[in-house]
């Protein structure tokens, strides 16, 4: 908001006593327009008009040095035309994937894991909510970005 106020105040100051004069319908004929000439015809040929010639001039322009006298056509041209990843995820073949040990949701009484062995070693149960480690530390920045720790390197 502070930035908007600065811009608004700045614009108001600038617009008072402004150099620019807008053309009105009463301004039928202008005999002189002060072109900037950063792309002068002697070095840019007719291509300089791409930058320097206002669109509201429709007649051919006679350029003479810095102070060009331009005869403006009385009919203004108004016709407008309009022209005009790929990912590379590494695959991990060969990883052994068997059913995981099941988690005993109801077990919450012991800090130690309990085993309900039924002859299938994959059906081990481990209590999840009492591990002796209650921290949930940060992994958000363990992403290969720069990690300064106490000293960046």
């Amino acid at each position: 908001m502070k930035q908007l106020l600065i811009i608004t105040a700045f614009s108001t100051l600038i617009l008072q006593g402004c150099y620019t004069v807008i053309m009105t319908p009463e301004d039928k004929k202008i005999t002189h327009y002060d072109l900037y000439g950063y792309y002068p015809i002697e070095y840019y040929g007719d291509y300089g008009n791409y930058y320097d010639m206002p669109w509201w001039y429709s007649s051919p322009v006679v350029s003479v040095g810095n102070n060009q006298i331009i005869q403006r056509s009385s009919d203004t041209k108004t016709v407008r035309n309009e022209n005009g990843d790929r990912t590379n995820t590494e695959s991990r073949d060969g990883i052994i994937s068997t059913p995981p040990p099941t988690r005993d949701i109801g077990s919450s009484t012991s800090g130690s894991g309990t085993s309900k062995s039924n002859g299938n070693s994959n059906n081990e149960v481990r209590s999840n909510n009492s591990s002796g480690n209650s921290n949930s530390g940060s992994i958000r920045n363990e992403n290969g970005n720069r990690n300064s720790g106490n000293s960046r390197r």
Partner: protein, 472 residues
């Protein structure tokens, strides 16, 4: 409020701040300037704030709009390629990612004037892209690992890599590998206006609405390639015999909104030269972050998967970028335009704020770290353009230097770009510009802790940009 309730609130604050911590890398991502979206400018090394006489003035210098005398439609696309050669424990791995994007659409409307200039413009610009990649693979002979670094979380425990007391037999000597793919871009809709306030003195301002997205997909592996861990990683659980692989996936997704404003000035010294100054006010980015985690441990006869919901979450916060103050000049020597500019950026001024789901004290600490680690820099841009008047053909060249934001970085970490371009003007109506930018710099990254599992990255960046303009 009871003592018990206070304890619960404190606990939740600590958990939330630890689990979803952001850092200076996130602030830098949106604060380091991009390459813009105009081929003529890019061909001239983006040394364009003293020229800016087309619709891209909205990006470079809004005052430049005042130099546009014809109604103009501008549009363009770019192709970006990011190549990363990563050295990791004496092994080098190459990776690449690319992106093609419509990067510019603009309409510039000069109002008829008897004297001076008054011009308005509406534009859509890609401000910067987030294209990036990183792949690495090497054996870490040290007695450290990501598994050990995560012992202050529940992840190793949940993956049966610790005993019931949270201790692990894993003690490094694992093969570590990973791949990261970044994508997305930062775009803005800009309403600009410029006026000739005094003869040859132009003033412009704009207001931009920002939209963008960023995705970082990181897969990380630790493999017991030397069969060191043959016993049970979780004693009492026979299926955890013979540890093979630890896998962790971090998927970071940003939806970015925001706004910013810029003012600019241009003074034209008749046919000879132009001088430009811009002030980019701090940009406010509102980040909607979705952080997803997957994990797995593989053993000889079993594998265990992480409960993704436990470690994934959504948070919101703001990042404010620093001021960017630029000054530049261009001279026209008989059809040869030479241009140069400097941009001052104080990266210490980057800031996190307004976190939802993140404690204020955490962001306060991060803002302190930014001030300790970052520095003030001056970016340099130089460019040249020559027009062959007989055929309307233009050739360009340029150079850019963006010094690293990190305080102690050597010049190897500075981003350097060489640029070249050509342009055609047909009948003074249609302009076609093509630019190519080649960038190179070095970077480092830590998989965990500091300098124990570090990637040394040698980055090559390529961008091809096409811009067409139609003036009438």
């Amino acid at each position: 409020m009871s003592y018990r309730k206070i304890k619960i609130i404190l606990f939740l604050l600590i958990i939330s701040s630890l689990t979803y911590s952001q850092n200076y890398n996130d602030a830098l991502r949106v604060s380091v300037p991009g390459l813009g979206s105009n081929a003529r400018a890019l061909g001239m090394g983006n040394s364009y704030i003293s020229l800016s006489d087309d619709g891209s003035a909205a990006f470079f210098n809004p005052a430049g709009l005042g130099l546009v005398k014809k109604i103009e439609f501008l549009g363009g696309i770019d192709i970006t390629s990011f190549n990363n050669s990563t050295k990791f424990f004496n092994q080098t791995t190459n990776s690449n990612s690319s992106q093609t994007k419509l990067d510019n659409l603009s309409l510039t409307l000069p109002l008829p004037t008897i004297r001076g200039s008054l011009v308005f413009g509406l534009s859509y610009n890609t401000v910067k892209d987030f294209v990036g990649s990183n792949e690495f693979n090497g054996f870490n002979n040290g007695t450290n690992s990501k598994i050990q670094s995560l012992l202050d979380t529940d992840i190793p425990f949940d993956l049966y890599l610790t005993d019931d007391n949270g201790n692990t037999i894993i003690n490094g000597r694992l093969n570590q590998s990973g791949n990261m793919l970044n994508s997305g871009s930062l775009n803005q809709w800009t309403l600009s206006g410029a006026i000739e306030a005094y003869r040859n003195f132009f003033i412009g301002a704009n207001l931009s609405i920002v939209s963008g997205n960023f995705t970082s997909d990181f897969d990380y592996y630790e493999d017991d390639t030397q069969n060191i861990y043959q016993g049970e990683t979780a004693p009492g659980y026979p299926s955890t015999t013979d540890f093979r692989t630890f896998y962790l996936k971090n998927l970071l997704k940003w939806d970015i909104e925001g706004w910013n404003a810029k003012v600019g000035f241009i003074y034209q010294l008749e046919k000879l030269a132009r001088i430009g100054v811009t002030v980019q006010f701090p940009k406010v980015y509102k980040i909607n972050e979705d952080f997803l985690v997957e994990g797995r441990s593989d053993f000889a006869n079993a594998s265990v998967e992480l409960d993704a919901a436990k470690y994934s979450n959504k948070v919101k916060y703001d990042i404010t970028s620093p001021y960017e103050i630029s000054g530049g000049a261009s001279v026209n020597l008989k059809g040869l335009i030479l241009s140069g500019q400097l941009t001052y950026i104080d990266y210490k001024a980057m800031e996190f704020s307004n976190g939802e789901g993140i404690s204020a004290t955490y962001f306060s600490d991060q803002n302190k770290r930014i001030k300790n680690l970052m520095r003030q820099v001056v970016n340099y841009n130089f460019g040249a353009e020559y027009t062959f008047p007989e055929i309307g053909f233009r050739v360009r060249g340029g150079f850019m230097l963006y010094p690293s934001a990190f305080k102690d970085d050597s010049p190897d970490f500075d981003k350097k770009f060489l640029t070249a371009g050509i342009g055609f003007l047909t009948d003074g109506v249609l302009g076609i510009d093509i630019a190519y930018a080649y960038g190179w710099w070095k970077d480092i990254g830590d998989n965990y802790d500091s300098n124990v599992s570090r990637t040394f990255q040698d980055i090559k960046y390529h961008k091809v940009m096409l811009t067409t303009s139609y003036r009438f």
